[in-house]
Structure formats: structure tokens, C-alpha cells
């Protein structure tokens, strides 16, 4: 069994000329609860490429959030990252010291969450929270900018003195024409206006925060900086979260169900915003969702997760055109479309398995209509079945092509009736 498992760390190279930016290898995160060990993430592997959106999709409870939190090492007790590698730009993040890891969080890899109300600190203003990211990761840049602005400011002040001197001299020698005098006066006025506020660390920080809020489409950012999260709408709050996540120009943005808690119209707006920003900032996005509609809209690649494993991993186009894994098929046919009446929707029989005692073999076998005899005995591994296409299902393993189909008992079918 062990050596078969190790095959699971398959070579997941996708055919693409884009640079690989994150490589998750055989990640396992367990929760040590009183009831037992919850194997929430049990050998997950995938790659992310530059300037691409990878969708991570699956039913609630299949381990999507835990996967995301594990990448940033934000899993809280009783959760432990058991093994695996998270390789970001040739560094295995899991081997880093805590302090070093902090430098990546919020700067190179950032994250936004499902519930934008609780994700913002209720007793801190939006401004304080947005500024914090800059202060954490861009102190030096701000000071550099400050030096530069100070220089400009001084130059302008010197220029004012120069001009005033000219006017003064003119009192005695009357060399300037009326027009020249008024030009000089105008210039002085303009310069005085521009140098009224001496640039400070604070003012630069504020300016940066204002700009980033503007970027995410928040009207009247000056005002919003002073507000508390509860004074904003859900959509605005999520925009604030996005602004914080983008403020240091990250390589990867992990979005854990960013639209789930929002109204439908707001969902579309936020999704559009994320698409625009992704193109503008060239950020790779890990889009976590249980909504295949979202995936179809924004993702370049998709990883389908089931019960702590990835069962299908392919480009979005191919996956939607021809889903292979029975679970993915079920998910896709469960999407309501115009010509399917709600009643006729195919859904998947049974329910999400227990993660403390997951089913033997293929974890999907108690719910699978295509089940083979071997399915409850041997665990299928993610294997390549075509160009940039990976599936973990025995149906696609030539080894089992002669394996007989499992006959569902009547009682068994009844027990796991489709809902």
C-alpha cells in the first residue's frame, strides 16, 4: 500500500509555457480531535502557474479551506500539517522558520475569506487595517518614497524663494514686465499650494491606502478609510479585503469562497473585479469555491477535491467539455441549466463521507454509479490520462479495464437514494 501511495506524488506537469509558481506536493493536514484524527487534507498535490486562475472545487467539508490555510501555515490547533511540500519560487515554505514565513504572508501569498464582516477587525477603522499591510511589508519603500518626496518638496520651496527674490529685485530695478510679474505670482501661488503639507511617513501611508481602495472600486476612499467595517456593505467589505490582499502586489492570491456570503448581484461585481485585478496585477489566483459557475467564469485550470483528495485536475475547458471522474460528472450535471427542470437534476447519491474513518479504496465508492469491484479495495491515484489531464479513478486505469462492474444491491441503492 505504502509504495502505491508514494506514486500519488505524481508528476503533475501541465503542458504550458507559463512559469510554475507554486507546487503543492502530497500535502497532509490532520486534526487531532477527541473523536479521532480528522484527515481533512490527505495527500493533495497541484501546481499553480504564473498569471493563471486555478479553481479548487468540491462540496463543503472536503478540505478546501484547510488546504488553503495549510499553504500559508495558518492551520490552528488541533490541526497539524503532517507532511508534504509547499514549494513557492523554489523554497519549501513548510521548512521555513516562523519569522521567515511571516514575510511571505500578506506580501507574496495573500488570502481573502468567505465572510468579509468577521474577517475585518470590528474595533479598528478600515484605514488602520489597510495601512497595516503596508507597514508590515513596505516600510523601506515608504521611507524611500518619503526621501524622494522630501527632496521634491525642498526643491519647490527653494524655487519659491528664488521667485520671491526676483520680485524683490524688481522693486528696485523694474526690469520685469507686468505679464512676467503676474506669471511669477501665479507660479508662487501654485507652488505654495503644492507645498502646504510637508510630506510625512503618515501622509504617504495614507495616500497609498487611498490609492489601493480606489483600485478596488471603492467610491470616496478618503471617507471609507475613517469608517469601521460594520458601517460598510458586504460588497464594500470584500473590496476592502481584496485591497489589503493586493496592496503588496502578491504573486498568489488565495480566495476562499470570496463571493459565497454575498448577494447574487454583488457576487457578479466582485467576480468581475477579481478578474480585472488579476489581469492588471498579473497575480495567480487560487479560487476556492463550491460553485462550478464561478469556476467556469474565471478559472484557467480546475482541481476537483473530494474528501481530502484531488480527484480530477485539468484545464477548465477540457474539464467542462468532458469531465471524467464520476464525482465531477455528478457535480456538473447538478448545475441547473435552462433546459433542465429542477426535478430532473442529477445529483450525487448519499452524503459526504466521515473524514475520521474515510471509506477504504476510492473514497467516492459508496456514492459512485460507475463503481468497479476493485473500487472499495484499492485507492485510485491521480494519474495522467491525456494532455494536461489527471484523474484519480480506476475506470481510467488500464490495469483494471477488465475488472467487473459492481452490482448495486437494491437495498443499498435505496439507502443511498439520490435526494
Amino acid at each position: 500500500m505504502e509504495d502505491i501511495e508514494s506514486r500519488n506524488i505524481a508528476n503533475l506537469e501541465m503542458e504550458t509555457d507559463k512559469k510554475k509558481i507554486l507546487e503543492v506536493k502530497n500535502l497532509k493536514t490532520y486534526f487531532y480531535t477527541e473523536e479521532g484524527v480528522v484527515k481533512a487534507v490527505d495527500g493533495v498535490s497541484f501546481n499553480m502557474y504564473e498569471d493563471e486562475v486555478l479553481g479548487l472545487v468540491g462540496e463543503t467539508g472536503c478540505g478546501k479551506s484547510v488546504t488553503a490555510l495549510s499553504i500559508l501555515q495558518l492551520v490552528r490547533a488541533p490541526g497539524e500539517i503532517e507532511e508534504g511540500e509547499v514549494i513557492f519560487k523554489n523554497v519549501d515554505l513548510l521548512t521555513l522558520k516562523k519569522k521567515k514565513m511571516r514575510d511571505y504572508r500578506g506580501k507574496d501569498i495573500t488570502m481573502i475569506f468567505q465572510d468579509p464582516l468577521n474577517s475585518l477587525n470590528p474595533v479598528m477603522t478600515v484605514g488602520t487595517q489597510v495601512k497595516e499591510v503596508f507597514e508590515l511589508h513596505q516600510r523601506e519603500e515608504i521611507y524611500e518614497l518619503l526621501d524622494q518626496k522630501m527632496l521634491e518638496w525642498k526643491n519647490k520651496q527653494n524655487r519659491i524663494k528664488e521667485l520671491e527674490k526676483k520680485l524683490e529685485d524688481n522693486e528696485t530695478n523694474q526690469r520685469l514686465t507686468k505679464e512676467e510679474i503676474s506669471d511669477i505670482k501665479n507660479e508662487i501661488e501654485k507652488l505654495e499650494e503644492e507645498t502646504r503639507d510637508r510630506p510625512t511617513y503618515r501622509s504617504i501611508l495614507r495616500e497609498k491606502s487611498r490609492k489601493i481602495l480606489e483600485e478596488v472600486g471603492i467610491p470616496d476612499p478618503e471617507e471609507i478609510l475613517e469608517r469601521y467595517p460594520h458601517e460598510l456593505s458586504g460588497g464594500m467589505r470584500q473590496r476592502v479585503m481584496i485591497s489589503m490582499a493586493l496592496s503588496c502586489n502578491p504573486s498568489i492570491l488565495i480566495a476562499d469562497e470570496p463571493t459565497t456570503a454575498l448577494d447574487v448581484t454583488i457576487q457578479a461585481q466582485i467576480l468581475d473585479l477579481m478578474k480585472d485585478l488579476k489581469n492588471e496585477y498579473k497575480t495567480s489566483v487560487l479560487m476556492i469555491t463550491h460553485d462550478l459557475g464561478v469556476i467556469a467564469e474565471i478559472c484557467d485550470r480546475v482541481a476537483v477535491m473530494y474528501s481530502g483528495n484531488i480527484v480530477e485536475y485539468a484545464t477548465a475547458t477540457n474539464l467542462f467539455k468532458n469531465p471524467r471522474h464520476p464525482y465531477t460528472k455528478g457535480l456538473i450535471s447538478a448545475i441547473p441549466t435552462l433546459d433542465k427542470k429542477k426535478k430532473e437534476l442529477d445529483t450525487i447519491r448519499g452524503s459526504v463521507p466521515n473524514l475520521i474513518y474515510p471509506p477504504e479504496g476510492c473514497r467516492f465508492h459508496p456514492r459512485c454509479d460507475y463503481r468497479l469491484e476493485v473500487c472499495d479495495k484499492v485507492r485510485p491515484l491521480l494519474t495522467q490520462i491525456g494532455e494536461s489531464y489527471f484523474v484519480a479513478c480506476h475506470l481510467f486505469d488500464p490495469q483494471y479495464k477488465d475488472s467487473p462492474k459492481y452490482e448495486w444491491g437494491k437495498e443499498e441503492l435505496e439507502r443511498t437514494r439520490k435526494i
Binding site: L69, L72, L74, R76, R102, D103, Y104, R105, G106, K107, T110, M111, F113, D115, N118, S119, L120, N121, P122, V123, M124, E132, V133, L136, H137, Y228, H230, M241, M244
Partner: protein, 338 residues
């Protein structure tokens, strides 16, 4: 609405409470066993003397009249006289003499307890289930379950007699003078009149009672601070702070602490109220002649007027503290509208 309006509204809202408490104390005091007249009479007395005294106290009036008389007296500031602690002295005088001492002890205890309790609570939460947590939780458990008079007795024995380094009872060395009464707060009066040795003497006497009261108060604040900190640390916004790359120290100090402080403030306020109302057992143990002490006497000897006066004062203290808490919440938590 402005803060002032808000405060004013809260005061108005407190009036029914005040009224209710007055009524309740009146009823309860009349139901109390014991006869207040006896306290006003000499050791041996005649029936005529008794009846005259009863008449003089107004106890022959119908109850309802007595009730309204009592209400009008309370609001006009005439709180009657005491017949037990100092025969015939106005209740006000007793309160003015006794309350400042209680206040001194309460304020020192609550400040010390808040500083230490919030700190230990946060440390315990930060090191959940580790040694420091277990240690502070153990101490806090002892603190909340130990009978306060017992702790007082142990302290008295240890420091007052065994090591003999601190006075065990009273609030001043007997025979030592008093500062001129200016603010009624002995410590401040000592300073104003420049009598440092009196101040030192007073402080020396307060150490054990304050230690005793702080200890139990620290325990309850620690427990509250720990549990609210743990709750806050589970919140999504803490995860956001960590995801931003904030240091663990900043996560606790800037992101979690203010949120965790809000419930702790309640406990601090209620503890302070309790201390101001006179920590009866502690004051008696240390023989401090405070408000709690006077309350005990008033109850034991059915001193209606003293009892009503003290209960009224305590009610007002609690109302004021609640008001302060409300203002503090509005200050700490921007979600509260006022």
C-alpha cells in the same frame, strides 16, 4: 445623538431602578426581625419611655405614610439618624466617615487587580494549556474559591503575627493622630497637610486588606480575560491579521486585546461596585471601620435609617458604575450606537 444626551438618557432609565430599590429596602427593612426602638433606649426603660420613643421614631404612623416620609427624606437629603454606631448622629456623617475608607481600599484593589488580572488572563490565553496557563488558572481557581475571611485570617497570622512585619488590624496605629478633614479621603488629607508619616502609617495598614481583596478580584478578572481572549483568538479577523503577516505579539496586542477587553470591562466594573459596596467580610476581619462594617451593624441591630442610607448609597454606586461601563463600551466598541 451626542454622548451627553446618551448619558442623560441612561440616567433617566436608571431612575425606576433607584425607585424600585428604595421601595424594596423599605419593605425588607420592615420585615426584618428585631425592634429598632430598643437601640434608642437605655439599658432599663419603662413602657412609657418605650412608647414615647416609638412615637418619636414615627413608627406609629401607618406604613404607607412612613414609606412616603422615607422617600421624601431620601430625596431631600435628610437620611435620618443612627442609633447604633454613634447614637443620634446623622446617617450622612457615618457615611462620610466610613465610605472614604472603603473607597480607598476598593480603588487600590481594583487598579492592582485590573492590571494584573488582564495581564495574566492574556498570558494564560496565549499559552493555552501550557504551563503558564495551567499555573494561572490554578491560582485563579484558588482565588475564586477561597473564602475571603479565611485568606484574611491567614494573612493576618502570617504577616501580622508570625513575621510581624505589617499591622494586622485597624487602619491606623492606635494613638496616632488624624489629619485635618478636608477631602474625607485620609490619604489625600495626609498629603495636603504634609503629614507623611500618617500617610505611610495608613498605607501600611491597608496593605493586607488590599492584598486580600486584590487576590480574589484578580482571580475573577483573569478568568474573564482569559476566556474572552480565547474567544477572540478564534475569530476570523485574527486569522486575517495572521494572513497579513502580523507578528504574533501584534496579533495579540493590537488585534485581539481591545476586542477581548470589552467583556472584561464588565467584570472589572461589577467587581469595583462590589468592593465599593463594602467588602463586609474583609473589613470586619481587618477591623477597618468601613462601609461594609457599618452595614453589618445596621442589619444586626435593625437600624432602619442607617441601613436605608447605606443601601441607597450602594444603589447609586452601582447605577453610576453601570453608566460608566456604558460610556466605556461606547468608547471601546464602535459598533455600539449611542
Amino acid at each position: 445623538m451626542s454622548m451627553i444626551k446618551y448619558i442623560f438618557r441612561r440616567i433617566l432609565a436608571a431612575l425606576p431602578v433607584l425607585f424600585g430599590v428604595l421601595t424594596l429596602t423599605f419593605i425588607l427593612s420592615r420585615l426584618m426581625p428585631g425592634d429598632p426602638v430598643l437601640a434608642t433606649l437605655p439599658e432599663r426603660f419603662t413602657t412609657e419611655q418605650y412608647l414615647a420613643a416609638r412615637e418619636a421614631l414615627g413608627l406609629n404612623e401607618p406604613l404607607l405614610n412612613q414609606y412616603f416620609d422615607y422617600l421624601s427624606r431620601v430625596f431631600t437629603g435628610d437620611w435620618g439618624q443612627t442609633y447604633t454606631i454613634a447614637k443620634g448622629r446623622p446617617v450622612w456623617d457615618i457615611i462620610w466617615l466610613r465610605f472614604p475608607r472603603t473607597f480607598d481600599i476598593a480603588i487600590f484593589s481594583i487598579i492592582i487587580a485590573s492590571i494584573i488580572g488582564l495581564k495574566t488572563g492574556v498570558i494564560a490565553a496565549k499559552h493555552r494549556n501550557k504551563f503558564r496557563d495551567t499555573f494561572f488558572r490554578g491560582l485563579a481557581l484558588i482565588g475564586v474559591s477561597i473564602p475571603v475571611f479565611w485568606l484574611g485570617l491567614i494573612l493576618q497570622f502570617l504577616f501580622g503575627y508570625y513575621f510581624d512585619i505589617l499591622p494586622a488590624v485597624g487602619y491606623k496605629t492606635s494613638g496616632i493622630g488624624d489629619p485635618p478633614v478636608i477631602t474625607y479621603l485620609r490619604l489625600i488629607d495626609c498629603f495636603i497637610s504634609g503629614q507623611w508619616y500618617l500617610a505611610l502609617d495608613y498605607l501600611e495598614h491597608l496593605i493586607l486588606p488590599i492584598f486580600c481583596l486584590s487576590f480574589i478580584t484578580i482571580a475573577s478578572i483573569t478568568r474573564q480575560a482569559r476566556s474572552s481572549m480565547l474567544e477572540v483568538l478564534e475569530q476570523d479577523y485574527i486569522r486575517t491579521a495572521r494572513a497579513k503577516g502580523a507578528k504574533e505579539k501584534d496579533v495579540i496586542n493590537t488585534h485581539a486585546r481591545k476586542n477581548a477587553l470589552i467583556p472584561s470591562v464588565t467584570i472589572i466594573g461589577l467587581n469595583f461596585g462590589g468592593l465599593l459596596a463594602g467588602a463586609i467580610l474583609t473589613e470586619t476581619t481587618f477591623n477597618l471601620h468601613g462601609l461594609g462594617d457599618a452595614l453589618l451593624v445596621a442589619i444586626r441591630y435593625t437600624d432602619y435609617w442607617l441601613l436605608n442610607g447605606i443601601v441607597f448609597l450602594i444603589t447609586i454606586i452601582f447605577i453610576l458604575i453601570n453608566l460608566m461601563l456604558d460610556v466605556l463600551y461606547a468608547f471601546l466598541d464602535p459598533r455600539i450606537r449611542y
